[in-house]
């Protein structure tokens, strides 16, 4: 990072019009898919053991956005999830809390109540999640609804159709509008649905577009499509936030979501963070895991380290 970081205004002029924005996004360095994936794979071979593993497991637990995004969600289900976020392992109170619980907007109030006083945040997927196919007014109403119910974080999806057809300004404007609706109380996570963006060049462009528009976090995916977070797309987004901070001095968080199920996988992602963006991103203000089944594996591995024995799925809670 340069010693005298320029301010965010250094890039203000690129968002002046559709054409300046397009020129800027297309002027970003390309991504070589083979090289990117081989770098991600080589970082995946780091051997993390003993003290480093114990540290990584606790760190990963503290970064989990414990999520329930089902049509069948009820306040009871959300309360159970909140209780788990606050005390992930009822048998061991030294277990860190998760970072947040992530719910649909109509469940925010219930979630808020469930985690009250614990420091666990409530995140909500607004903006017509997961497809994002609604009018901007509807999306903004969705966001305001969640924010007024007390959401600390808003996870918004971008309009992938607009992005893929080259209407970058439309995407930019939507993000800035949602950011405004978040006000000062909620942080904004922008979800690109990288599986639908299809190319790594698109993912890098989307990352910069999101950051320019005021995202506090950039997030890979909804968890609702075939390809979600991968080591490669997360590595790419980590490069983007690293470069963005070097250019603007502004630090942005990263959240891979969907498909991260095991402790081994989670540790690989932490290695990516450590060796790409750096240790400044190694806490739950700057890095999150969007995952629901990951937490139990982390807890079982944690119990294994503490006791020397593997327990089993009945030694952790089901929700």
């Amino acid at each position: 990072m340069p010693t005298s970081a320029p301010t965010a205004h250094a890039l203000a002029d690129v968002t002046g019009s559709d054409s300046t924005l397009r020129r800027f996004l297309h002027g970003l360095p390309g991504v070589d898919a083979v090289g990117l994936e081989s770098r991600a794979a080589s970082l995946g071979t780091r051997s993390i053991k003993t003290t480093a593993k114990a540290y990584a497991i606790d760190l990963a637990i503290s970064m989990v956005d414990l999520t329930t995004l089902e049509g069948a969600d009820t306040p009871g289900k959300v309360r159970a999830l909140g209780a788990k976020a606050v005390h992930p392992d009822p048998t061991d109170r030294t277990t860190p809390t998760t970072a947040a619980v992530c719910v649909y907007p109509d469940m925010v109030a219930a979630a808020k109540e469930a985690v009250a006083g614990s420091g666990v945040k409530v995140a909500s997927v607004a903006t017509a999640f997961p497809a994002g196919r609604a009018a901007l007014d509807v999306k903004l109403a969705d966001v305001r609804d969640a924010v007024s119910a007390g959401a600390d974080e808003i996870d918004m999806v971008i309009d992938r159709g607009a992005f893929l057809s080259g209407h970058f300004m439309k995407v930019y404007d939507e993000i800035t509008a949602v950011k405004e609706a978040c006000g000062t109380s909620a942080r904004l996570k922008v979800i690109f649905e990288t599986g639908e963006l299809s190319t790594y060049d698109n993912i890098r462009r989307a990352s910069w577009l999101g950051m320019l528009a005021g995202a506090d976090f950039i997030k890979t995916s909804t968890g609702k499509v075939a390809v979600n977070a991968t080591p490669a797309n997360t590595l790419l987004m980590l490069e983007a936030v690293r470069d963005f901070r070097a250019q603007t001095g502004v630090q942005i968080g990263v959240k891979p979501a969907g498909g991260i199920r095991t402790t081994k996988d989670a540790i690989k992602f932490l290695v990516l963070v450590n060796e790409t963006a750096g240790e400044d991103w190694l806490d739950n203000h700057w890095f999150r895991f969007g995952a629901s089944s990951l937490l139990n594996d982390l807890l079982m591995q944690r119990q294994k380290l503490a006791t020397g024995r593997y327990s089993g799925p009945d030694y952790v809670t089901v929700d």
Partner: protein, 481 residues
């Protein structure tokens, strides 16, 4: 979280040494038996990362060379008369045994050479097995290799290999020689004889007929005797250009066939439209793979002036994440330099770079107290006139030069006495093809570096040598064509 104040320090993750059993002493491998040197001489091989003596090795002299060549000559009759499919069986068997013993061999190679286990495990050993598999496949198809019907083997091959990839260079030499029906006398380098001796054991395990492969650990004098031996039909050498020239003089005027794979000063050219993050990885792979002790290393970085600052910032940041230390640790990226002599050569050349006015930079990096170590080093402000831009350093030292136009990049890349490898980084396909066609180098990688495959021929232009190893082309060096 409360306890996040400590950093994410990786705990040591050393690979176990117990998978390899190194005997206190080893003999020469002649005619299927381990034997002492005729004059009883021995030398010690040490672990470069700790200076620990690993074993005592019989040191081959002229008389031993003669014995070995005679054994190989005798074995040649039967070996060359075998149908190709029979020779293939032996080679396939060797390849499978190498795979089965790959963990043992990886640890052994790391101990004896000093390179990280990550590289021996993930690069060297898979390639060693792949070379034997690949040439096993050719053994019964020589009629169709494009060298005429029923091409004949040459006879006894005298092979001298270096210490940077001890087992891989052995595979590059022995696999095509055996596949084509030649027999072999091979001299490994004096600092890394162990894996070749373990290979001798693998030959026995595979039931390879006696005398087909002979291994003679020793110094340059043994290599010279082997090259000069009148009953050797083919000489293959990988190593320094100076020794290569000497060998060429020795062989000149004889009927021996010769291939030389010598030094290099590869240019790694980064254009302004390159995928920067991947180019940085490629630069790191290009010069810091095996501590830069690679003849085809991308030791000259040619970067387009318009992106020079940005690229160098990225590169320096990346170098700061390299992990140097115990080569047996699975998380180690940079291991030890192979020997005290090599460390002295690297140190002297790097000092010369500084004395000539180039700017030296290394990441903050603690070197272990014993063993031979050199921190990854970057020189900026280098010009074609600097010694470090011309001489092969054979260590983790990168010289950075800049250019403004593609023509200038090509001119600078080619302005060297060597011609082994080059790299091109650009997102523009047409530029890759246009520039690659103008580079005088045996291998040109594009948007990658230091990638090897048995199917791909490898060799040099100019003082980097002649002849090709690997691929179908690699057969020619061992056939009477």
């Amino acid at each position: 979280m409360d306890n996040t104040s400590s950093l994410f320090e990786y705990a040591p993750a050393p690979e176990s040494r117990s998978v390899v059993d190194i005997a206190p002493s080893y003999g020469l491998f002649i005619d299927g038996e381990f034997t002492e040197a005729a004059d009883g001489k021995v030398f010690k091989t040490v672990s470069p990362s700790t200076e620990e003596v690993l074993s005592e090795i019989a040191q081959a002299g002229e008389a031993d060379v003669d014995r070995a060549v005679k054994a190989a000559r005798k074995a040649f009759e039967k070996w060359s008369a075998l149908p190709g499919s029979e020779r293939a069986k032996y080679l396939f068997r060797i390849a499978r045994i190498i795979q089965e013993r790959s963990r043992e061999l990886a640890v052994l190679e790391t101990l004896d050479n000093g390179k990280p286990i990550k590289e021996t495990r993930d690069a060297d050993l898979p390639l060693v097995a792949a070379h034997f598999f690949y040439y096993a496949g050719w053994a019964d198809k020589l009629d169709h290799a494009g060298y005429g019907a029923a091409p004949r083997p040459l006879g006894v091959a005298g092979q001298v290999i270096p210490w940077n990839f001890p087992l891989l260079m052995l595979a590059w030499k022995i696999a095509p020689a055996l596949a084509t029906g030649n027999t072999v006398v091979l001299k490994p380098a004096e600092t890394t004889p162990l894996s070749a001796l373990f290979f001798a054991d693998i030959c026995r395990q595979a039931g390879l007929p006696k005398g087909v492969v002979n291994i003679l650990p020793g110094y340059g004098d043994a290599g010279a005797a082997l090259v000069a031996h009148p009953d050797v039909n083919k000489v293959a050498f990988t190593g320094s250009t100076a020794v290569g020239k000497e060998i060429a003089r020795t062989v000149a005027g004889t009927r021996k066939k010769l291939t030389l794979e010598l030094g290099g000063k590869g240019a790694n050219i980064v254009f302004d439209d390159a995928p920067i993050d991947q180019a940085v990885e490629g630069i790191v792979t290009g010069i810091f793979f095996n501590q830069g002790q690679v003849c085809c290393a991308g030791s000259r970085l040619l970067v387009q002036e318009s992106i020079q600052d940005e690229l160098l910032d990225s590169l320096k940041r990346r170098l700061s994440t390299l992990r140097l230390g115990d080569p047996l640790d699975k998380n180690t990226d940079i291991g030890a330099i192979n020997s005290a002599e090599q460390l002295a050569r690297i140190t002297a050349l790097a000092d010369k770079g500084e004395a000539e006015g180039a700017e030296r930079w290394s990441p903050a990096c603690e070197l272990p107290s014993s063993g031979y170590w050199f921190a990854p080093t970057l020189f900026t402000g280098v010009t074609q006139a600097h010694t470090i831009a011309r001489d092969e350093i054979f260590g983790p030292v990168l010289s950075v030069l800049s250019f403004r136009t593609p023509d200038e990049a090509v001119a600078k890349a080619n302005n060297t006495q060597y011609g082994l490898s080059a790299g091109i980084w650009t997102e523009k396909g047409s530029r890759i093809l246009a520039v690659a066609n103008k580079l005088r180098a045996g291998v040109v990688w594009s948007n990658t570096f230091n990638k090897f495959d048995p199917t791909s021929p490898f060799g040099g232009y100019k003082e980097s040598g002649f002849g090709r190893e690997g691929g179908r082309h690699g057969l020619e060096a061992y056939l009477d064509v």
